[in-house]
Every structure is written in structure tokens, then in C-alpha cells.
Amino acid sequence: AQSVAQPEDQVNVAEGNPLTVKCTYSVSGNPYLFWYVQYPNRGLQFLLKYITGDNLVKGSYGFEAEFNKSQTSFHLKKPSALVSDSALYFCAVRGEYGNKLVFGAGTILRVKS
């Protein structure tokens, strides 16, 4: 069965500094990896995905993520954080032969001015 670990409950970063939100996964076969963001009282919004190809994928709002197969990781990154990036971030994985998307517990990102 697939699973996702987000080891940090919360990440704090100063505005303008780079940010990283960590994610590791476990799945049979090739992974399909996703990042979603959730603002208060809103639904989840898709940020980016890795299916195949280049290990560095770029997504919405300047976010990017790096797939590392040997470390089974898919960390979310942004070169320069904005206060408006403050939200709850979820990493998710599905296997290449399945349709069930499994989410991590989420990481709260707080960007302070």
C-alpha cells in the first residue's frame, strides 16, 4: 500500500528567503507525485505533479519540486517566499497501476514579513 510522510508539522520562513517543504513516499512501481495547497476554508488546489521525465518540475505560483528516486522524496521548493504563500501544503502519491491518491498529513507553511 502506498503512503506519504511529511515530517514537519510546520515550517517557518522569512519573506524573501527560500523555502522547502519535505515529502517522502512509499509505493509499488513508479510513483505519480502531487503537491496541493489548502487555504483556510477553501478546497485543495493543485500545485504541480511529477509523472515522468525531468526530475525538477515547475508549477503554479513559482513553486517547484524535485523528484529523487533513490531517496523516495519529492520536496516542494520556492526560491523566494511570499507572505501570501502561508497555507497548508499536502503531498500525495498514487501508484502507476492504481487510481487511489494517498495524501500526507500536511505541513503548515508560515511566511513572516
Binding site: V4, Y32, G43, L44, K49, G95, N99, L101
Partner: protein
């Protein structure tokens, strides 16, 4: 519609009552998912529809939970004999592809409170 629509946005009920939650997916999306999100946790998979049929219902916690999608569009999640532990936000999502590479588009959820 432009996005996934869920109704009601909030539902308060008493223990033991029956509840229905409705999801209207993005037009043309064949795949539909239900998730449950409890406070401080990530979304938990409940059931996945491909068209009218439930392709994977392995996440339904027990036989009090049931979901239908009779015409391959709107779906209803039904909870019988509600318990306080059923309180959560129920999320619906849809996707345009049968392949599992597409992202899911989520509604804003139905918050269920069982007193």
C-alpha cells in the same frame, strides 16, 4: 459548472440520523472521488467512481457509508445512523482522465457535525 460543487457546505445533525452529501463534478469529468478530512489530518480516501460504477470503495469505513453516481455525473454520499466520529469535512474531487496521471480538482467540501 466551472468547478466542483458540493452541497450542503455545512450540515449539523444529531447522532443516529441519516445524512446525504451531494457532489456535482466538473462537466465531462468521468472520474469522481470522495475523501474525508478530519481536523489536523490529510484527506483520507473513501471511494472512487469511474463513470457510474464504484471502481474502488476500499476506503469506506463501514457499511453505514454508501455512495452512488447513477448517471455518471452527480454523486451522493450517504451516511446512515451517524456517529460523533463521523464529524469531518467531506471532500469531493473529479478528474478528466481514466489514466491515473491527471490531477484531481476538489470542491470546497461539506462540513458535517454530528452532535
Amino acid at each position: 459548472g466551472a468547478g466542483v460543487s458540493q452541497t450542503p457546505s455545512n450540515k449539523v445533525t444529531e447522532k443516529g440520523k441519516y445524512v446525504e452529501l451531494r457532489c456535482d463534478p466538473i462537466s465531462g469529468h468521468t472520474a469522481l472521488y470522495w475523501y474525508r478530512q478530519s481536523l489536523g489530518q490529510g484527506p483520507e480516501f473513501l471511494i472512487y467512481f469511474q463513470g457510474t460504477g464504484a471502481a474502488d470503495d476500499s476506503g469506506l469505513p463501514n457499511d453505514r457509508f454508501f455512495a452512488v453516481r447513477p448517471e455518471g455525473s452527480v454523486s451522493t454520499l450517504k451516511i446512515q445512523r451517524t456517529e460523533r466520529g463521523d464529524s469531518a469535512v467531506y471532500l469531493c474531487a473529479s478528474s478528466s482522465t481514466e489514466a491515473n496521471t491527471g490531477e484531481l480538482f476538489f470542491g470546497e467540501g461539506s462540513r458535517l457535525t454530528v452532535l
